[in-house]
Symmetry: C2
DNA sequence: GTATGATTCAAGCGAACGTATGAAACGAAC
DNA sequence: GTTCGTTTCATACGTTCGCTTGAATCATAC
């Protein structure tokens, strides 16, 4: 086994517990206990519970953001006018890929993203940095080129829809065990279903006012 | 003014605070203080904090469920085979209509729904009763008739997508004030955008395996 | 070996938490 | 006016919270 490294063990434990019980619902005592570390280790390594949450959020969202950015770069390097489907895949794909664990670590990371996006704790402000806004703006511009007739407001709505579908999906799979189909949605199928669903949605003609 | 009625004042205050800060992030002390009631009133009227949350959730979701059910009834009374667009509107519409307050009460109710759907507190299990499952099953059957080629799993995925989009929308409008378009999304426009978005998404051809 | 900086530890602080309790205040019936 | 069931009240209990502290432990360099 590699170095236990208290700091990252705390990060791992915090990621899991924050994802499962939310920010307010997780105590640093529970985190340090799961991590096998001392209670004071959080204060020593991160400063406070809120700062720990920030570190967890940064570690989880940074690779996703980087992948989204890189995907758009390669897309734009090939053609100045990617299709809506390509943009949707480049934007939403990393939200599925960031969960390589398949089952355990995957669902946990996904859950954490939802929690970051939806947790009402005041500390949630500032969990996502300006990098997220930058990549979102770039995708917005690319989508606007691919969907000329759409008003900026409706385009923002559709981009929020992408985030909503990708992030909430697995969450509800876990919560409501899907009456009617017993096995949880396999990750690969969900990815394809989401891209079909979202490409059709984003490509819809503008709403007539 | 009508009767203050401690019990409903507690329900109102709890709805607001649960929506703003989540379940774990809200103390019954804050609720009773906002309601102008005594701390022990929660225990007397509802039994416990978890039971209070259940009452809040029930009061918020029941009219939505009833409207969804009634909408499907009138639709099926007219024709045995409604279109996807009609089904989407009957299913998703009440999630927008349940917020008649326009601004304050509306966004709050919407926020509460999101919180109910996504709060990771263990107490969240059981907040929604079997009535929700029943109406979902009925819509599932209707959608299955309108979308013959779709596998049950993918159809469940798309119905989860409807819930995701409708519930997460206003949430993120409030959190990230939509860089680029300053005014928050007006409710009526969001409703139409959502129906356009979702009808196109649900109507998409089945994902090729 | 010993000094030094980094890390971990047990213990405790004050505050806030959910809940319980028994006494006061209230309104309607007699 | 007295009684009785309902509702409100002040208060307290035991627990857990986030955070701090000072001593103990460790690794490394001299």
């Amino acid at each position: 086994m590699a170095t236990p490294d208290t700091r990252t063990q705390i990060l791992d434990a915090a990621e899991q517990l924050f994802a499962e019980h939310g920010y307010s619902g997780t105590s640093i005592r529970a985190i340090t206990k799961l991590a096998g570390a001392n209670l004071a280790a959080v204060g020593y390594h991160f400063g406070s519970k809120a700062d720990l949450m920030g570190a967890v959020a940064r570690r989880a969202t940074e690779p996703i953001n980087a992948a989204q950015c890189a995907g758009l770069d390669t897309l734009l390097a090939r053609t100045p006018d990617p299709t809506v489907g390509e943009l949707v895949e480049a934007f939403a794909g990393p939200l599925f890929d960031a969960l390589p664990g398949g089952d355990e670590g995957g669902a946990r990371r996904s859950r954490l993203i939802v929690m970051i996006l939806s947790d009402p704790a005041e500390a949630a402000r500032g969990w996502t940095g300006p990098a997220e806004d930058t990549v979102r703006d770039r995708y917005f511009a690319a989508f606007a080129r691919a969907l000329p007739g759409l008003s900026p407001q409706e385009l923002w709505f559709r981009m929020r829809g992408i985030l909503a579908v990708t992030s909430v999906d697995r969450l509800q799979v876990h919560q409501h065990p899907t009456p009617g189909c017993d096995s949880p949605t396999p990750g690969e199928a969900a990815r394809h279903w989401a891209l079909t669903f979202l490409t059709a949605a984003v490509s819809a003609p503008p709403t007539r006012p």
